[in-house]
């Protein structure tokens, strides 16, 4: 393999890492029936906290752990508002995105431009762990008791409830999981991919992760292809800078997202979203 090709693959896989992590989390949340549009907010909080902790303590792994915790905490907010209070999932997710971007922007002001001494390599354990995670999550979803419970809650919370499944608990856990891995995804950006903190550094990756979840038909294994595809597109936009204006290239991942969703619309028709996706479940009340 010529060197430029190897570089391309490595860079693409590196960019795909945070996309894959965040998309996997979103897939689990949506499989249980909860859309979380707050991925961008959870990622940026994760990115900031990972950087701040790694910078203060000097340990990037500890930074990632903190990022996971913060992402999970932010997701719990979404879970409380949408599952317990049964509010509109779209609006709550948007609120979370705004809040996360705002909080990270305010808290992170003092950290801009500071270098990070201890970083993780671009292709680190997280990358391989991401692929492994996809396989494990796929297996859990389709071949375990837990998987049946999660899928059933997303397809028909009433049927699950009638069999004694605690719908709220399942939804809390999947949303929490989604937030945790989104936090890690953000942390990867600030301690491994581009070890630094800049305000708004997630740059829309959270939204693309949500698109990957849709594109993948809510299947963890297929999300791997989606993440690598978009990772390649991100990388392409750096690669082509010699010939095309950088601003135009930066549109590329976003424009492709729309194109890919449109192009695969017909194929997705058969599999469809979880039937209860986006719908709050009220239980026995009427």
């Amino acid at each position: 393999m010529p060197e430029w090709m190897a570089t391309t693959v490595i860079r693409a896989v590196a960019v795909s890492t945070p996309l894959l992590w965040a998309a996997l989390g979103e897939i689990y949340a949506e499989r249980s029936g909860v859309v979380n549009l707050g991925v961008e907010g959870m990622m940026i909080l994760g990115a900031f906290v990972a950087f701040a902790v790694a910078q203060t303590v000097g340990n990037p792994v500890l930074g990632l752990t903190a990022a996971a915790a913060v992402g999970g905490l932010a997701a719990l907010l979404h879970a409380f508002v949408t599952v317990t209070l049964r509010a509109n999932q779209y609006v709550s997710g948007l609120a979370l995105a705004m809040f996360g971007l705002g909080l990270a922007g305010v808290l992170g002001r003092g950290y801009e431009g500071i270098p990070l001494l201890n970083t993780l390599p671009e292709i680190s354990g997280l990358t391989y762990l991401g692929f492994l995670l996809a396989v494990v999550l796929w297996f859990v979803l389709y071949h375990t008791r837990l998987g049946i419970v999660i899928r059933s809650v997303g397809e028909s919370p009433a049927a699950s409830d009638a069999l004694g499944v605690n719908v709220s608990l399942v939804r809390y856990l999947t949303v929490l999981f989604g937030g945790t891995v989104a936090g890690v995804a953000g942390g990867y950006l600030s301690v491994a991919y581009r070890p630094s903190w800049t305000e708004g550094m997630t740059g829309g990756m959270g939204w693309i992760a949500i698109a990957i979840a849709i594109f993948a038909g809510w299947d963890p294994l297929r999300a791997v292809w989606g993440a690598v595809l978009f990772g390649a597109l991100y990388y392409l936009s750096f690669f082509l800078q010699t010939w095309v204006a950088p601003e135009v290239l930066r549109m590329l991942p976003f424009a492709s997202t729309i194109l890919v969703l449109a192009a695969t619309a017909r194929r997705r028709r058969g599999q469809g979203a979880p039937e209860a996706l986006g719908l709050p479940y009220a239980g026995g009340e009427r």
């Binding site: 709550s92 609120a95 601003e247 976003f254 729309i258 619309a265």
Partner: protein, 359 residues
């Protein structure tokens, strides 16, 4: 039905207007308190922060025009979103629609040779049309291919943002700007007039108010408004009633996105007089307008009040930036929290509380 001391809590089928207002005010107050906790953690005494904000906004007569100025794009985008949301179309793309409206207005101002009095109407027209077309693509993708509009309109925001970025760095970069990334200043005919001594570009404001009134009438009194309401409340029943969902959604979205485009024309024509960094053209008005629309609970007229309120939030953010040296992202904290508390409090609307004597 349950009892908390002398307070009887019971479920009601439909809340009264006063109760809706009370719950909304309560939610906003709770959000401000929540933000206070964050300031406190940040090392700023929240009471001091709010005192500063109060002194710099509501207590300061000079602040009123500034609030009004910020309310203009919020009103236009917000009223537009009310229309989209009423049709159950999740237009999260007002930000991008605003930006392309600004681009089109800039194009007219800088490159279209028109005689004086025609320039401003042409700029508004261009703003509306371009915004509407920008919103049309995700609309058609949703209606024809079932592409989730939240994702597509958001992606369109990023595309619009980099499009503006490209224009000001590349083809439209000014010849007299000393290397800075913005376009040349508009000729004076393309300056939207302002109220003396302020930055309130009143023609845009008037457009916003007129649009709010017109859309309120449209929704309540016309066939088209009735169709939009039916479609938004129950798409299945709309199909059953023979309402064309494609036509109705497209019309609602053209209005919605066009209104955001008008806001963009207003910002470049009334405030900046040139096209500049996208984050300077819009301080996130398109996103904040989601709160304007949600707080207005589907009423275009109520959006006038809620746009003023969000204008106050933005002005408060400016005050905090200047006086307390906080980053401009602080408004996003407010916005996120307000939205959270607003939708979180909606469950309260299903209940009513009454004082009763012990039986």
């Amino acid at each position: 039905m349950s009892r908390i001391g002398p307070l009887l809590v019971e479920r009601v089928p439909a809340p009264t207007r006063t109760w809706v207002l009370a719950v909304s005010v309560l939610a906003v107050a709770a959000a401000l308190a929540g933000a206070g906790v964050i300031f406190w953690a940040f090392g700023i005494n929240p009471l001091h922060a709010y005192a500063v904000v109060f002194a710099g906004t509501l207590a300061d007569r000079r602040a009123a025009p500034e609030i009004l100025r910020q309310a203009i794009p919020l009103l236009l985008c917000g009223v537009g979103l009310v229309m989209a949301f009423r049709a159950q179309f999740w237009n999260i793309g007002a930000e991008g629609q605003l930006l392309v409206g600004a681009v089109a207005a800039t194009g007219v101002a800088l490159f279209v040779p028109l005689s004086g009095p025609l320039v401003l109407p042409a700029m508004f027209l261009a703003g509306f049309t371009s915004g509407a077309l920008w919103g049309l693509l995700p609309t058609l993708l949703r209606l024809r291919l079932d592409v989730n509009e939240v994702i597509s309109t958001l992606m369109m925001n990023y595309i619009a943002l980099f499009f503006v970025d490209w224009l000001i760095h590349g083809p439209w970069k000014g010849t007299t700007t000393l290397g800075f990334a913005y376009t040349d200043t508009f000729p004076e005919a393309a300056w939207i007039p302002v109220l003396a001594g302020t930055r309130v570009h009143w023609p845009t404001l008037a457009l916003g108010l007129a649009l709010a009134g017109a859309l309120a009438f449209l929704l309540a009194r016309t066939r088209l408004g009735f169709e939009i309401r039916i479609l938004g409340e129950n798409p299945t029943a709309a199909r059953y009633a023979g309402i064309d969902p494609v036509r109705t959604t497209v019309v609602a979205m053209l209005i919605s996105a066009g209104a955001a485009g008008l806001a963009g024309a207003g910002e470049v024509g009334g405030i900046h007089h040139r096209l500049l960094f996208p984050t300077q053209v819009s301080l996130g008005y398109g996103y904040a307008a989601i709160i304007v629309a949600w707080l207005a609970r589907g009423s275009p007229l109520a959006a006038i009040l809620t746009a003023l309120f969000l204008g106050l939030i933005f002005t408060s953010g400016d005050v905090m930036k200047v006086t307390l040296q906080m980053p401009f992202r602080v408004t996003d904290i407010f916005n996120g929290l307000i939205l959270f508390f607003l939708i979180g409090s909606e469950r309260l609307l299903r209940y009513r509380m009454r004082w009763v004597r012990h039986a």
